[in-house]
Structures are given as C-alpha cells and as structure tokens.
C-alpha cells in the first residue's frame, strides 16, 4: 500500500454520507405471543364487564312479580256471610248463629255509628 493511503483515507472520511431516515419503533412478529396475550386479556376483560352490566340491567328491568312476593288476598267478607256457611253454623251450633249473623251484618252493611257517616248525618237532619 502507498504511504499516502491512510492520509487520503482520512481526507475521504471528512466527507460524511447522509444518514438514512430513522427507523420506526416496530415490534416484529418475533414475539407474537405478547400481542396474543394482550388481546386475550382485553377480550376477557370486556366479556366480564359486559356480563356484569347485562346482569344489572336484567335485574333492574325485571317485572315486580319476579322480585316481590304477591300479597295474600284479602279476606272477602261476603264469603264469611255466605248462605252455605251460615247454614253450616246453624246446623252445627245454633247458638252461634246469632253471633255469626251479627258479625256478617257488621261487615256487609254500612256503619252508621261513626261520627261523620252518611246515616248519622242524615239522622241529624
């Protein structure tokens, strides 16, 4: 080699070629399991959240019959004063018939003992 070569090489190195464009931060397919795991966790999380929301909505929109027990039917006074029942009482215990009739009349007929009942008002007039 020529003795001048190292000096000429240094002269050449004073000229800098332009650098290429910077490389982007790319994650290649060498570790695809990371992306798959992240996607699986995301899907699972979305599934759990959607499930919870759906459950809450179902409870909120449910008809009252499903959540509250129906109230027991009120006793029908007419039933107590039915002819059949009174007949049965008369046959089994005639002494109790008067009491049963009194009770039935109290339940079925309008009461006028109360202070402002229609009958008491009319009676005053």
């Amino acid at each position: 080699m020529n003795d001048q070569d190292p000096r000429f090489e240094e002269f050449l190195r004073d000229f800098h070629p332009r650098a290429p464009k910077p490389l982007p931060p790319v994650f290649g397919p060498r570790r695809p399991w990371r992306w798959l795991a992240a996607a699986a966790v995301l899907i699972l999380g979305c599934g759990v959240i959607a499930d919870r929301l759906l459950e809450k909505r179902t409870l909120r929109n449910a008809p009252p019959a499903l959540t509250a027990r129906p109230a027991p039917p009120a006793e029908n006074p007419a039933r107590e004063a039915s002819l059949g029942r009174l007949s049965q009482i008369a046959m089994e215990d005639p002494s109790a018939l008067d009491a049963a009739l009194d009770q039935a009349s109290r339940d079925l007929l309008p009461r006028f003992e109360r202070r402002n009942s229609t009958l008491s008002v009319l009676a005053k007039e």
């Binding site: 004073d14 000229f15 800098h16 332009r18 290429p20 464009k21 982007p24 790319v26």
Partner: protein, 158 residues
Amino acid sequence: MDEVGRLCGQHGPALVLYARSFLWDMGVAEDVVHGVFLKLLRGQVAMPDVPVAYLYRAVRNTALNARRDESRKASFDERDCCFESVTGNREAALALESALRDLPCEQREVLIMRVWSQMTLQEVAAATGVPPDTAASRYRYGLAKLRERLKPFHKESP
C-alpha cells in the same frame, strides 16, 4: 431490534452512498436503504449470518430495481449531493460523488465498505465473497483513481 438499529447506525450512511451510486435521486436512495432495514426490523427477513454482506447485496438489488423506474431522469442533480463535507467544500463533495460513480462497481463497493463502513479488508473480502487479496487490489485501484480525480482538493505531503 437492537442489532438492526446498531447496523443502521454503523452502515446506514455508507449504504445510502452505495445506493446513491446506482441511482440519480437521493430520496430514492434513502428509501431503498430504509426499506432494506425495515424488512429486517419487521422480521420479514431473518437476520443473516453475515449481516453486512446481506445489507450491501440487498441494497444493490433494490437500487437496481428502483433504477428502472427512474430511467427518465437523465442527469445528475447537483442539489442532491450525498456528501456533507466537514470543511464545507461542496465542490469537493460533488467531485467525490461523481468520481465514485465512475468507478467500476466492484471497486466502488470495496471502497465504500472500507472507508465509510469502517470494515477491515478481511471483512470486506468476506462480505463480497472474494479472496482477501482480490479485495485489497480492488481497493488499491479504486483509491488510486479517486486520488487522481480529487487532486485539486487534496494536497499530499511530499
């Protein structure tokens, strides 16, 4: 990823210069080199055993393909000089680029690897697939031609 970044930092500028020696357009030369590194980065190409040899070969092939598309452009664009001179001597930078372009391809390749990729002649020989003596003689001939062309800009000591 780190290896690709390191290769880009060490050989990127020399590869742009190499691509530019086949192409008229500086932007296309930069794109060619960028594309070759991106393929490595995205794993589209497995990291070769001798990465530098692969890089130079890939850049040359891609640049030759790109040259077909830019055949309309017939002259060298002086505004697009590939070199930046430390001394700011733009005329010398243009003369160097022009002289490099006129070298035979095998001499130019060896010169770029040795001077701007900082490779030893043994590494250049391994990368180009020739015996070390052949690489050394190509380098010597190429250097002599450059020295002749750049005489007006380089004052040699007696």
